[in-house]
């Protein structure tokens, strides 16, 4: 492979990646190729790319975890205005996915898709994981071993909640009168005060002799 092509690939990869990439990571991009560039060739390409940034609004910097392109600090005042004007917003799909994870946790992606009727993009899950509002708390023992998601302490903190119990019940939300999809599964099971006429009589024997 010619040096120009190696350089083009590395430039595109570093520009598209959302994290810094080390040289070994960049080498892996060529893994399946018959003709792989050497470590030195990659290094050389990076040096050339760095030189090409001269007089440009971006630079190719080396940070702890590898190389990454970033905007030059002197143009930052203008670039920052991109977000002042329009604060970024989350999509409806993300909000729905998050709320289902909160209320149906521990929940697998497939169940969310079933309720929503559309597939859940990996991007949404990634964003929620990155924000640390959800995390993987287990796996289902079915083919594919899907991850089960649950909420985090950071989620509670963000919404200024002490515990999930401060959230309204699903039934309340949907309007109790019309919300009768199914017989209420555990009608009497609202913590902390179970009703007296509870239908379930359960005695847990913790210490049987």
């Amino acid at each position: 492979m010619r040096d120009t092509q190696i350089k083009r690939i590395i430039e595109a990869a570093l520009m598209a990646a959302d994290t810094a990439l080390g040289i070994s990571h960049l080498l892996r991009l060529f893994e399946p190729d018959a003709e792989k560039p050497t470590h030195e060739q990659i290094k050389k390409a990076i040096t050339v790319l760095q030189e090409e940034c001269k007089d440009r609004g971006i630079e190719l910097r080396r940070v702890a975890s590898g190389y990454r392109y970033q905007t030059c600090s002197d143009v930052q005042p203008w670039v920052a205005r991109l977000w002042q004007e329009k604060p970024p917003r989350y999509s409806r799909a993300l909000l729905e996915t998050l709320s289902l994870i909160i209320y149906r946790q521990p929940v697998a992606r497939g169940e969310i898709e079933q309720v929503r009727g559309v597939s859940v993009s990996s991007h949404i899950i990634k964003t929620l994981l990155e924000r640390e509002w959800i995390r993987v708390i287990g796996h289902k023992e079915v083919p594919g071993r899907p991850a089960l998601y649950g909420s985090t302490k950071q989620f509670l903190d963000y919404f200024n909640l002490q515990s999930l119990h401060e959230l309204p019940d699903l039934a309340e939300l949907a309007g109790t009168d019309q919300f009768r999809l199914d017989t209420p599964a555990y009608p009497e099971l609202d913590l902390p005060e179970p009703e007296e006429d509870s239908k379930i009589h359960l005695r847990v024997v913790t210490d049987s002799g």
Partner: protein, 277 residues
């Protein structure tokens, strides 16, 4: 009008309509010797009767404008017959098309009306529909070939210089999230098959908490999940949460012998798959 005489002479049974596992099949199976899945796969390959017809026409390099209706009808019916013999659920559209074809065929066999009376060719409507559908089929193929984000091209996203400030993350408030939830629940209600049970959050919350404990310790004694301070309600919630997790094949209860302590462990050992999947 091209009636294919050879096709008519050829006995039905000599026409292999399918090759299954390398074996040509000349007989519609009396028993289910073609796995019905295979035909379902085959039928799934088509986007409906128009698509199936286009396929039949193309297979034989026939001209759509002089659509040899008898030939096509016969072949189409053969598929339909096969599907029905296999008791596959056949979309109503396929049967409707069969009726349309039969009607056109009978019109074609009728003697032509007296000259001067310009009657439309009975095939023309079907030909028009086939042409129209074929155009959109091609259009779909072309759209699929356009360079597409995240498949062929990727957005350049350069990190902002770290010295100034971090890029703000979107903010949401609780009511916004609850509103989204209400909508999705109400939408889901429209599908009768989906059940969002009216479950108190407490059970779901407890299920998550149990899993979090099991993330730290792999093997936890059953009793340890119960906290007497929570009262009867708490015990019930915990117990139901454990049962739900067992039912959902997320955890397992193990006991070495009768009356030995029961232990709880994750049904799946460790995150074997990528976590972001």
């Amino acid at each position: 009008m091209g009636i294919d005489s050879s096709l008519q002479q050829r006995p039905q049974t000599e026409l292999p309509f399918a090759v299954v596992k390398g074996q040509p099949m000349t007989d519609p199976p009396a028993d289910l010797y073609i796995p019905p899945d295979a035909l379902e796969v085959f039928l799934d390959a088509f986007e409906g009767p128009l698509d199936l017809l286009l396929y039949l026409i193309k297979r034989q390099n026939l001209d759509i404008l002089t659509l040899p209706i008898l030939q096509i009808t016969q072949q189409y019916m053969e598929y339909i017959k096969l599907m029905r013999e296999l008791r596959l659920e056949l979309a109503a559209e396929y049967l409707l098309m069969a009726a349309t074809l039969a009607e056109i065929k009978s019109h074609m066999l009728l003697p032509k009306p007296v000259a001067g009376h310009d009657e439309e060719d009975p095939r023309s409507e079907l030909v028009r529909r086939l042409q129209e559908y074929a155009r959109f089929k091609t259009a779909a193929t072309q759209i699929n070939e356009l360079p597409r984000m995240y498949r062929d091209i990727f957005n350049v996203s350069v990190i902002q210089s770290e010295c100034e400030y971090e890029r703000p993350k979107p903010d949401i408030d609780l009511t916004e999230m609850l509103h989204a939830l209400r909508e999705v629940v109400q939408r889901a209600r429209m599908f009768a098959s989906h059940h969002i049970r009216r479950e108190p959050l407490s059970v779901r919350d407890r299920m998550s908490r149990i899993l979090r404990i099991l993330n730290i310790e792999d093997f936890v004694e059953f009793n340890r999940f119960f906290n007497a301070d929570e009262g009867r309600g708490g015990v019930i919630v915990t117990f139901i949460a454990l049962l739900e997790l067992v039912k959902g094949r997320v955890i397992k209860l193990v006991q070495s012998e009768p009356f030995a302590p029961i232990y709880v462990k994750p049904a799946v050992k460790g995150p074997l798959e990528r976590e972001d999947d």
